[in-house]
Symmetry: C2
Subunit: 210 residues, 2 copies
């Protein structure tokens, strides 16, 4: 998000040199990849939206991360310790670059342009991921559904530089993202409207407080 690097050029080089990579298109709702230990797959979302989703043994679905253009994902970011399924699902038509690495920070033997760019830009991209994850943690540590909603709305408001913004999720998915029950979230959403904190027009939220 706050990357001051030339990601467009990076992506371009990423796509045009070296062999251990592959570009693929996906339609909405297709599974882009699953996280499997030791496969060493790194992915970049070139276009579209996708979610990292976990299905646990109780049947709960959790949206672990929400990815948009230029997001990095793959099991390199994950220490896989559970038997839970971890899937990346396309939420729109997507273009994804897959890359299999030996050592993620080392240049390949070919000394190709792609790897030069990768090792140059990867640290900053990963740092961006850290700040994203820290924001996610701030959301999840809110103690009530109301606080989670308000914190999330405030975040979107800041990002959009406006008190009025579109939700990037369906309400069903928002509940899975905040890790709460959908009907309980709907109830809280209604209370927030009744208490004059927000207005909701379709998929658009308008914050009414200071």
């Amino acid at each position: 998000m706050n990357a001051n690097i030339d990601i467009e050029n990076f992506i371009l080089d990423f796509s045009n040199s070296c062999q251990k990579k592959q570009k693929k298109n996906f339609s909405k709702n297709e599974v882009i990849t699953t996280y499997i230990k030791n496969r060493n797959q790194l992915c970049i979302l070139l276009d579209g939206y996708a979610d990292l989703v976990r299905y646990d043994l109780n049947g709960n679905r959790t949206i672990v991360e929400h990815f948009s253009k230029n997001a990095l994902f793959g099991e390199v970011f994950y220490t896989i310790t559970t038997n839970n399924e971890l899937l990346v699902e396309a939420k729109s038509n997507c273009t994804v670059l897959f890359y299999i690495y030996d050592d993620i920070f080392h240049k390949c033997s070919n000394n190709c342009k792609f790897h030069e760019n990768l090792s140059e830009n990867l640290p900053q991209l990963i740092l961006n991921k850290v700040t994203d994850l820290n924001m996610r943690i701030e959301l999840l540590t809110q103690r009530s559904t109301r606080d989670k909603l308000l914190r999330y709305f405030s975040l979107l408001s800041t990002r959009n530089l406006s008190k009025s913004f579109e939700l990037p999720f369906s309400l069903t998915d928002l509940a899975d993202y905040l890790s709460v029950d959908r009907s309980a979230m709907m109830r809280e959403l209604k209370l927030l409207k009744e208490d004059g904190f927000i207005e909701k027009v379709g998929n658009r939220i308008i914050l009414l407080y200071k």
Copy 2:
């Protein structure tokens, strides 16, 4: 944790060259640093234990991260958007290296050994942080206090390669780490004992299931 880099040597060089850094000692319960926007401070915990703690407007205390030897912290990892206080508190006697950076990934003009090592090792250290944060998120997305406890215990069990392990937290702090009410957590802990899931001897937990 899974860093296959020579962190001891890194730390050594970190300590012995270049000027924009400072080594300090802290006693238990002292505040090591607070997160302040745009100060560009990066810290490495050379020794001891420390917590990143957030105090919110409702008076809740949350342990955002728990740091041990060689952990990286500082506002570079954080997009500070709230008015909440973010403090790093020493949980034992600590030695901390502070470093003020201009551009975190660029070598300084001196071309010193410290910066050479920093830019070499930082990416891997940050990647480790990502995997830590992802585990933290997995914990926090558990839907009940029971599931949070069991997930956390399972994690410690894996780390210690044993069904029996010491808690690195007081129970009060554990509640703040899992983002739940302490008394509710104590109740759940009792139920876990009664239901035969765990045994608890002082600060030691023993897992009794498969």
